[in-house]
């Protein structure tokens, strides 16, 4: 989230698209209701189903799964055509005026630079036009046809209301009414907030779904302001924290990237991370990248990381492919290329697409380790549970270790919420039986390996032997010690060049502004610098005081970065430093510095007249309507059909799907066609359940005891399916036999002239826990991911459905 949960109350329009906050995030959704009651906000919901979020909306529009880019491109076309954009904001704070290089083009579904043999792009032309000094050229009058804003107008011109309706199935009048509501927030003192979740990410074009809405928000001047922003409602209690700390194939803590094979030395690695400003006088804060990396290396390797050995650069693994993501991991397993897999609090047998492939992959491992508080399906993949998990145990040679771990109530530590708050929590009891903390288990494995490498030697032991491990109890480090290590310390006396204040050796740092690239500071996660200082554990703060009652609560816990609660908040003020919305100011220029209820996302003493852009992490200081070379599919979002789709791509039939999606051959062979699988399916959570955990909790197992699918009345009648009757739902990859819930909440849509039915597949069931046994939605889903993130396409795929007899009991 760019903003906070409580800040939603400041919105004038709340759009929920790509999520269902009322059911998946109920206690956060209260702030939407607060916005309606206290601020007269309009709630707009665009969703394939009439969800409980839709049931309290001021306006609801249906949409076919997987067509959000077409819808949002139509919105952009509407805003540009009606001139419903916040002009001053767009001119000064976005790259609308910048000129794009001559070679850039879009034709017949491809952007310039496409190579049809490798299905990759040469992105050289996805860039600005530069002057002699290396600065991007601009035309503030927008007369030049190569201005980003003009190329955007041209790109979205194809998305007329007729075309949008033909692709999305949203009736034109409903689409236009949503456009009107969105456009109302182009006024400088009005804001719209976008609330979304996996309804946008779980597509082969997931990242571009989100970009499309971010562009809408930039055109409306809704980023950085109270009641605005792009608000990803994240799904797990610390999924934000694990992202922040870089527990992802290609990441290091604080969004630093893991080196690749091409970056053969530390200097090579840094060459692409210099972030020279692309416009005169811009902050381009990532110019400090070297300080963050060197401080991380010092935290990891201590005295062993020196300037002479390039801060231990060789001890970091290098990537030869963009990602060793999970879809790739299971492909490798199925190909016999993996030996072991450790699943810490993660249940891939239920969570990853094409369940049969997941089971076959696990069966080929030499060993599997699960660490979990609960008895997961993954840990029992080798046991026969009937049709829900058919397995021949004696033929499966995988060694399996099922390790019991403590849960949230049995440990202390911090979690990062969706609004980037690091909240400390405290242990209330010991775990059951012999259950141990993850920290103890990981330390135990590490010590054993380190001892063996010390005694026996082996493959490249240096990074293991040099890893810092200076904890009071090395076998069970205290969470506070680890939190301090992430925050960072001075490794030498540091003198502030401006104030001459000396930070003594060993002192905890106050913020990332103190970090150095000469080895005199250590910080395990630079964006967390300031979370645990000499003043104590800032994450443990519990003062709920909220100045102006505006949803900031600056002294409750601590937010990264720098305890800033609204990102890009410089953009909440106009060019003179006055709030666009005087009733809800965030920060303003008082003549000498930026002040307000939030920590400025800006150098606090930079004058408004200095023309420094508010998006200080971007090298041109501007919000990007044109994404340069940072997205896999192109600088503008484009509608591509889901890999399993009921319709051809009417915009460019020869390029139906995301042209740069990575699809493994066996996965492509497992895609179904609309001839055999005529119905669109989409997966989701129920409000009574959390993934595959709560079926282990008695109350939740009682509330929603068994697997079912949702089907509209028209299709149910057509197929002779009764309320509560048994059905067989099948895709090319497998079948699920369960009950049907016939509902008014899903209605057929007309897509390209044809009636299109949607089937809803809640995802919570498996074969362990207290609920009845189920197959799991991932029995049906295809193994293909977003081209940038490889997040699987769970939200739009094809199935067939037939009435069937009740299974024998």
């Amino acid at each position: 989230m760019t903003n906070t949960w409580q800040d939603i109350r400041n919105a004038n329009v709340v759009i929920v698209m790509g999520g269902n906050a009322a059911e998946a995030h109920p206690c956060g959704f209260k702030w939407v209701i607060e916005a309606k009651i206290e601020n007269g906000a309009k709630l707009v919901v665009v969703d394939p189903r009439f969800t409980r979020t839709a049931s309290v909306a001021d306006y609801y529009a249906p949409i076919r799964p997987g067509t959000d880019i077409a819808f949002l491109s139509g919105v952009m076309r509407y805003l540009l055509e009606k001139d419903a954009i916040q002009h001053a904001y767009v001119r000064a704070y976005t790259n609308a005026s910048l000129l794009v290089a001559d070679g850039f083009a879009f034709e017949d579904g491809h952007f310039s630079g496409f190579n049809g043999e490798t299905n990759t792009y040469d992105k050289a032309s996805w860039n600005y036009e530069f002057d002699d000094q290396g600065f991007a050229k601009a035309d503030d009058t927008w007369q030049n046809p190569r201005c980003v804003i003009n190329l955007l107008k041209q790109h979205v011109s194809r998305y007329t209301p007729e075309m949008v309706s033909r692709i999305t199935g949203t009736p034109q009048d409903k689409f236009l009414h949503v456009c009107e509501l969105i456009a109302s927030t182009a006024a400088p003192d009005k804001a719209m907030t976008s609330l979304f979740a996996l309804g946008w990410t779980q597509h082969s074009v997931g990242a571009q779904n989100i970009r499309a809405m971010a562009m809408v928000q930039l055109l409306l001047g809704n980023i950085g302001v109270a009641g605005g922003g792009m608000n990803a409602l994240r799904g797990h209690s610390n999924i934000q924290g694990l992202t922040d700390i870089g527990l992802l194939s290609n990441q290091m803590p604080g969004y630093l990237s893991l080196p690749t094979d091409k970056e053969t030395s530390f200097d090579d690695y840094m060459k692409t991370k210099l972030f020279k400003p692309l416009r005169p006088g811009q902050t381009s804060y990532y110019q400090n990248y070297g300080k963050f990396v060197v401080s991380l290396q010092k935290a990891l390797w201590g005295d062993a990381a020196t300037k002479e050995n390039n801060w231990g650069y060789d001890w970091l693994p290098k990537l030869d492919v963009p990602l060793y993501d999970i879809i790739r991991a299971f492909e490798m397993m199925n190909n016999g290329e993996m030996t072991g897999y450790i699943c810490q609090g993660f249940n891939p047998l239920q969570a990853f697409p094409d369940r049969g492939k997941i089971r076959r992959g696990l069966s080929k491992l030499k060993f599997l380790v699960t660490m979990d508080p609960l008895d997961t399906e993954t840990s029992r993949f080798w046991q026969d549970f009937g049709p829900q998990n058919p397995a021949k145990s004696t033929e499966i040679q995988t060694e399996v270790f099922q390790l019991p771990v403590t849960c949230f109530a049995e440990e202390s530590g911090s979690l990062v919420n969706s609004a980037r708050w690091l909240q400390w929590h405290w242990k209330a009891a010991e775990g059951p039986g012999k259950a141990m903390a993850d920290i103890w288990i990981m330390s135990g494995i590490f010590h054993r390996l380190r001892d063996m490498y010390r005694k026996e030697g082996g493959a490249f032991p240096d990074p293991i032997l040099n890893m810092t491990w200076k904890y009071t109890n090395p076998t069970a480090p205290d969470p506070e010690e680890l939190a301090k290590e992430m925050n960072g310390r001075a490794l030498a006396d540091l003198t502030d060049p401006v104030t001459n204040v000396v930070t003594k050796t060993g002192t905890l740092l106050d913020g990332f502004g103190q970090l150095k690239d000469d080895g005199t500071t250590a910080s395990g996660c630079w964006i967390f610098a300031g979370s645990f200082t000499e003043k104590g554990n800032q994450m443990a703060r519990r003062d709920a005081t909220d100045p102006r009652e505006q949803g900031i609560a600056p002294n409750w816990a601590w937010a990264w970065p720098a305890n800033r609660r609204i990102l890009y908040n410089r953009a909440s003020a106009d060019l003179d430093g006055k709030a666009w919305n005087p009733k809800k100011p965030v920060i303003e220029w008082n003549g000498t510095r930026w002040t307000g209820i939030d920590v400025p996302d800006y150098i606090p003493t930079t004058k408004p007249s200095d023309n420094v852009g508010p998006f200080i992490m971007n090298a041109e200081g501007l919000g990007r309507l044109f994404a340069l070379n940072l997205m896999a599919e192109g600088p503008f979002p484009e509608h591509y059909e889901p890999f399993e789709s009921p319709s051809e791509n009417v915009l460019h039939p020869k390029v139906p799907n995301n042209p740069v999606a990575r699809v493994f051959a066996d996965d492509r062979a497992s895609f179904g066609h609309r001839r055999d699988f005529p119905y669109v399916a989409t997966t989701y959570r129920l409000t009574e359940h959390f993934h595959f955990w709560t079926k282990h909790a008695l109350i939740n197992a009682i509330l929603q005891p068994e697997e079912f699918i949702e089907i509209g009345e028209v299709l149910a009648k057509e197929k002779g399916i009764a309320q509560g009757g048994w059905v067989k739902v099948s895709s090319k990859r497998g079948e699920v036999i369960c009950k049907a819930y016939v509902t008014k909440r899903i209605k057929p849509m007309t897509v390209d002239g044809k009636a299109t039915h949607v089937i809803g597949v809640p995802l919570h069931w498996g074969f362990t826990g207290q609920a009845r046994k189920g197959y799991g939605a991932n029995t049906l889903t295809p193994s293909v991911g977003d081209a940038n993130t490889q997040t699987p396409e769970f939200k739009a795929f094809l199935v067939n459905i037939e009435r069937t007899a009740a299974p024998a009991t």
Partner: protein, 197 residues
């Protein structure tokens, strides 16, 4: 006399003693009636601030446990409710959060390390030492066999692709950071968490 919710609980929770009822303005009959009422259950518990383990709204919760954290007392969690002081959830919990007690005490909570042999049909209980020794040995064998120090072009790459790990998105930052250190020191690149889904 204005009382906050917490003070109210403190005053009334002690077993509704006559004095405290007087403070609340009850008359003599009220005192007599209250004397017959069972003492408020949570008065003898220890209150711990924590965060709901499910979604990322991160509702504040209060965990009530029997036991006073004395060295020889084992805490037992008996009640969990929303933290009324929390600025986001303000004391409320959803259908999942309201049932947190049932997940803490789920019958399928794991209580001992278990091991399944190749081709085995059942789990068997093992010691932590057995499990961790064996896991470390299997990891070392695989790492020593498949670790890639240089690619075909002769570039130093130092990666390990044949053993992978999925990290837990409900674990703390501190667990996550330590896990990162362990995985990357081994050169692991097949490494993700639920954010990938």
């Amino acid at each position: 006399m204005p009382l906050t919710r917490r003070e109210f609980l403190k005053v009334t929770g002690v077993g509704l003693a006559a004095g405290s009822l007087g403070m609340l303005g009850f008359g003599a009959s009220g005192v007599a009636q209250a004397a017959a009422v069972r003492p408020f259950k949570l008065a003898h518990t220890t209150e711990t601030r924590n965060t709901c383990t499910y979604c990322s709204v991160a509702c504040g919760i209060l965990i009530y446990s029997m036991g006073d954290r004395a060295k020889n007392a084992l805490s037992n969690i008996i009640h969990i409710e929303g933290d009324p002081d929390h600025p986001v959830n303000r004391g409320t919990l959803c259908p999942k959060g309201s049932a947190l007690l049932d997940i803490v005490h789920a019958p399928t909570r794991l209580k001992a390390p278990r091991y399944r042999k190749p081709g085995g049909t059942e789990f068997e209980e093992v010691s932590w030492d057995f499990a961790l020794d064996r896991i470390a040995r299997l990891m070392k064998e695989d790492r020593d066999k498949h670790f890639i120090t240089q690619n075909a072009a002769g570039t130093t790459v130092n990666r390990w692709t044949s053993t992978g790990m999925l990290a837990a998105s409900a674990s703390s930052n501190e667990t996550a950071y330590l896990t990162w250190k362990v995985a990357r020191s081994l050169g692991m690149v097949v490494f993700d968490n639920q954010a990938r889904v």
